[in-house]
Symmetry: C2
Subunit: 143 residues, 2 copies
């Protein structure tokens, strides 16, 4: 079981954007270098984040990517779900209620509690807090 | 992100075995029918569970599968890891320490806490408790 690499990259780039002074816009190549992700892959990730309203992009010579307004309060869960869709630990927890066994399956409530515990941690992790941490760490590395 | 279907099947069959009177041995076809899993797939799952020491098997006309001694205290985590190996939420948490970013990456401790929360729920879920629940549910269905 693994979250996708795209979701990992999305978290990286969102934390980096959150660590920058408000309104900072960066072009793809600078973002790719900063978060150590191949440009072509990052481009697709940024498209998904833009579609989800987490990132705002502008074309042109002064173009690039910035956090969308209000996104500082977004969580790691928001970012992951923008890429991977709703977290679903296994097929037992399919949202379409397709599992006919769930009503009397003793494993079902355990899978559910495990998923809820995971989701809670990710929902409580705010980009704004992590961006501040990243900013402090990069200053400490310079000094 | 999903746990494998094999791990789901392993959990199902282990709970079923735990719900039976101690020492009950069942052949593959009866187990497959009871947990609603294709025989060929279940056979591979049972091989892995036997290798991991969670299931004991015997060949022959009175052969079949039973819980290995002491397995009643095993957890859902034990069963899942017998099939899928150690739970690893994403590449950031690789056990080989291959991520050079982990030391100053603000996402790393969040991934770690999320994984720990998930693992804790699965480690606390004992097969013996779930087997009792399954046994009661099947009796209730009969009556």
């Amino acid at each position: 079981m693994q979250l996708t690499r795209a979701a990992d990259y999305a978290v990286r780039v969102m934390i980096h954007l959150a660590s920058l002074p408000s309104g900072t816009r960066l072009p793809l190549n600078m973002l790719a270098q900063a978060v150590n992700v191949p440009e072509s892959f990052l481009s697709k990730v940024l498209q998904s984040l833009t579609r989800a309203g987490l990132v705002a992009s502008r074309r042109g010579t002064d173009g690039g990517f910035t956090l969308a307004a209000g996104t500082n309060t977004a969580s790691m869960l928001d970012v992951i779900q923008a890429i991977d869709g709703p977290i679903q630990l296994n097929v037992c927890l399919a949202h379409d209620g397709s599992c006919a066994r769930s009503g009397n399956c003793p494993a079902h409530p355990v899978w559910l509690r495990a998923q809820e515990a995971l989701v809670k941690v990710l929902a409580e992790a705010r980009l704004s807090d992590m961006g501040t941490h990243a900013h402090s760490a990069s200053l400490a590395a310079i000094n």
